[in-house]
């Protein structure tokens, strides 16, 4: 383990998906005994890069050196054999089995097993790295933090030397995160190379030895953590000051109020207040997991608030969502297109009818011919490819599926639209079309845009609200240059009035 030869060396890695250059000529060195943070916004290419290292994809060009020797990682097994282990956001555990059984699954020393010896070995291993866990517990009974420790123990049992953590604190409580950090430092001290993927600035500064910043698939900055002076310094390096994608946003006349939240509380929301008028786009920005999900669910009637007052299209929350035909005025464009917005196995006409039943039925019968004609027209108008209403939703690409959802929702002429990450995973041209469509919908509707993409918020919104820790830190007009410049800090939890 000489200090001069990196444990892993990525040289000129490029990976293209369709029109998207996910990784462009990336070169990185990862050293044993050090923690390297990979920082970047959603879609910056962090996960793609690490998936290449974990053997899920082959790069289009470039090479990977392990201990200075080139290795081809064609499958996850190749990666495991090369000593690379990854802790995913979605755990790969057998819930009904014990911690010890999960750690030893596929690594059994012989045909006959000794549960007691397995438990003892897991206990020793866990103690060696400061991971607190009961080896006899059933995984189903564990907290998310404990499950993550089981995943880490699996890698340690395999003697992985290069450990990759993909946004590991996304599912953890603050105390569990602290324990994880201690374990990560202990693993690094024992000679493991650690890669830490995150977009949380505070964590990265507290933990990392070196920081690499990715933007649009390229490494834009690489520096020792000691050279970073403040979170705002890091935020500026991460978000950058690039030219934003331009769409023309004509000012609209603001009309009646369509949504008002007053001191709304749930398990995660903390006294949220906001208001939205017809003709307006309000962007809620923030790092994922800071209460955006609860906000959307409350506004769309999927979750009941614990406290506070909400008025939706002039009615109280209770009155609005208990009425049988409330769908009329409210449209929800969910982040999970395949899962929540459409039924994969149904054709486009049926998917059109999913949220648009009014006007397409007589007594108990659906008027499919009428629905087909309208769906056909919408598909043509929104340029959905393929323009065939008899094909199934699963056959559509992400961008075309989103266009279908928008076409369906806007056809109902909603007065309140809740759009959640509407352009996530779409390519540049599809993004442009979705943005144009959303802006056009302001004619009749107020739009609550929940996004993790700052450039999207700046391009579309009239006002921006920054969320952190379940609360709205600040709300300001997009024209307020000074506060826009500090969005990155606010997303990291710094008060808007605090001096930088």
């Amino acid at each position: 383990m000489s200090a001069s030869v990196p444990a892993v060396s990525l040289r000129g890695i490029t990976k293209v998906f369709g029109a998207v250059r996910a990784n462009n000529d990336i070169s990185l060195d990862i050293h044993a005994g050090r923690i390297k943070a990979l920082l970047g916004e959603n879609g910056a290419g962090k996960s793609t890069l690490m998936s290449i290292l974990a053997g899920h994809y082959l790069p289009d060009s470039g090479e990977i050196l392990i201990d200075g020797r080139p290795r081809s990682l064609r499958t996850t097994k190749d990666a495991i054999r090369a000593g690379i282990g990854m802790v995913y956001q979605h755990f790969m555990l057998v819930e009904a089995m014990t911690v010890a059984e999960n750690v030893f699954l596929g690594q059994e020393p012989g045909f006959f097993l000794s549960p007691r010896a397995m438990r003892e070995q897991v206990r020793t291993l866990a103690q060696g790295f400061g991971l607190d866990i009961d080896p006899a517990a059933r995984v189903a009974d564990l907290s998310m933090g404990e499950k993550q420790r089981v995943e880490i123990l699996k890698l340690l049992q395999r003697k992985s030397r290069i450990l990759i953590f993909d946004e590991p604190t996304a599912v953890l409580t603050p105390q569990e995160a602290e324990q994880l950090f201690a374990a990560l430092r202990s693993m690094a001290a024992q000679g493991k190379a650690i890669v830490y993927i995150s977009h949380k600035l505070g964590e990265v500064m507290a933990l990392a030895d070196e920081i690499a910043i990715l933007r649009r698939g390229e490494v834009v900055d690489e520096l020792p953590a000691a050279e970073v002076h403040s979170q705002s310094d890091l935020a500026r390096r991460m978000v950058g000051r690039e030219v934003l994608l331009e769409v023309r946003r004509e000012p609209m006349e603001l009309r009646q109020n369509v949504l008002r939240l007053q001191d709304v509380r749930t398990e995660t929301l903390k006294d949220v207040c906001l208001s939205l008028r017809q003709g307006e786009v309000l962007a809620v920005v923030g790092v994922a997991g800071n209460g955006q999900k609860d906000l959307v669910e409350v506004v769309c009637g999927l979750k009941e608030p614990k406290k506070g007052e909400i008025s939706v299209l002039g009615k109280t929350w209770q009155a609005f969502f208990s009425a049988p035909a409330w769908q009329g005025g409210l449209s929800y464009i969910p982040e999970d297109r395949m899962g929540l917005a459409v039924c994969r196995g149904m054709d486009l006409v049926d998917n059109f009818l999913l949220t648009t039943r009014q006007g397409y039925s007589s007594s108990v019968w659906l008027q499919r011919d009428k629905a087909r004609t309208v769906a056909q027209e919408l598909v043509r108008q929104f340029k959905v490819q393929p323009p065939d209403v008899t094909c199934q939703a699963r056959q559509l690409s992400g961008g075309n599926l989103q266009k279908l959802v928008l076409a369906r929702e806007f056809h109902r002429r909603p007065r309140l639209i809740v759009a959640e990450q509407p352009t996530q995973g779409l390519d540049v041209s599809a993004i442009e079309e979705v943005w144009t469509t959303l802006l056009a919908a302001r004619e009749e509707a107020g739009i609550l845009l929940v996004t993790g993409d700052l450039s999207e918020a700046l391009a579309l919104a009239d006002r921006i609200a920054v969320m952190y820790g379940g609360a709205i830190v600040d709300t300001f007009p997009t024209g307020d240059r000074e506060r826009v410049d500090r969005i990155g800090q606010m997303m990291a939890g710094m008060r808007p009035d605090a001096d930088h």
């Binding site: 996850t76 790969m92 555990l93 057998v94 009904a96 030893f104 699954l105 596929g106 045909f111 097993l113």
Partner: protein, 306 residues
């Protein structure tokens, strides 16, 4: 009821419960690996017929018993081809297997109706058979009953103390995680399915070789279905399967005695008893249980891309 009659009834209970025990244990092994096989009734019938024919033609009961088990495994293999290779629907395939097995056994068995074949006779185990009460109930039986006593503890130890057992459980609970651990999920599912088929076949051949010694069509008369239900009652645990199987064996033996003694109850009501008990046991076991004990991926085929 005199003590002698009660003891005889309890001994008959163990005998009547044994074929159900074999079949239930077989289905537990299969389902632990994540494969739902509703073909137990058909597999038992085929096992019973193959066992009977082998005994008739070779004169060797032991060979016949083994052949019956292999017959069950062959039927299970059909289920595996449909569900594991071609990822067909496990419920449909299992139902088809029952219908197919019933027809197959009826077609080839009809010429043999009423014929007898050499089988297993009762003998008292030395020492154990002399224990008062328990000896009479458990240890004055045939060799296949004694053999069936060994399987629940062996199966329990297999799941808990062997690599294969753990892998089969993992394959039935979370195939994706099992594959991620570098194990071949489909191979373990095949193993559990075929092993379970052997046990189900044993249950069938017990009926023709030890229970009746002769062939009639429809010999199983729903015991396969009772076994499928008992797996749920047993929470997929071999030890509880033993309790369940003897409970049903008891009801079956009891209603036979009642009929023989000439009760006023119509025999059709008595014949219904085991099945009514099945429904009651299922309702009761899930009513009192907090969580489902079923393997999480039971009946779910694994897609190659997962």
């Amino acid at each position: 009821m005199t003590p002698e009659i009660l003891l005889a009834l309890l001994a008959a209970t163990v005998q009547a419960g044994t074929p159900i025990l074999y079949a239930t244990l077989g289905e537990i092994l299969t389902e632990k690996g994540g494969i739902l096989n509703l073909g137990v009734e058909g597999m038992m019938l085929v096992g019973a017929l193959i066992g009977f024919l082998t005994a008739l033609h070779t004169g060797s009961p032991v060979l016949a018993f083994v052949a019956g088990g292999l017959g069950g495994a062959c039927m299970a293999a059909l289920h595996g081809i449909v569900c594991i290779w071609f990822m067909g629907n496990q419920v449909v395939s299992g139902l088809a297997l029952t219908i197919f097995g019933t027809g197959l056994a009826g077609f080839f068995g009809t010429p043999y109706i009423g014929r007898t074949a050499p089988g297993f006779d009762k003998f008292s185990l030395p020492l154990l058979g002399d224990i008062p009460v328990l000896g009479t109930i458990f240890f004055q039986q045939d060799a296949l009953v004694y053999f069936s006593f060994l399987i629940p503890p062996l199966l329990w130890a297999f799941f808990r103390y062997t690599r294969w057992g753990m892998a089969i459980r993992a394959a039935g609970e979370c195939p994706a995680a099992t594959r991620a651990a570098g194990l071949n999920v489909l191979a373990y599912r095949w193993g559990a399915l075929l092993g379970g088929g052997v046990l189900v076949g044993f249950g069938g051949s017990y009926l023709s070789l030890a229970y009746t010694h002769l062939w009639t069509n429809g010999l199983t008369s729903g015991r396969g279905w009772i076994a499928v239900a008992l797996v749920i009652f047993a929470f997929w645990k071999p030890s509880r399967a033993m309790i369940g199987a003897y409970l049903f064996g008891g009801i079956m033996a009891f209603q036979l005695r009642l009929q023989a003694m000439g009760t006023a109850l119509p025999s059709s009501i008595l014949l219904m008893l085991p099945y009514i008990l099945t429904i009651a046991a299922l309702a009761f076991s899930s009513w009192r249980s907090e969580r489902t004990h079923a393997p999480a991926a039971l009946g779910v085929n694994m897609e190659p891309s997962e």
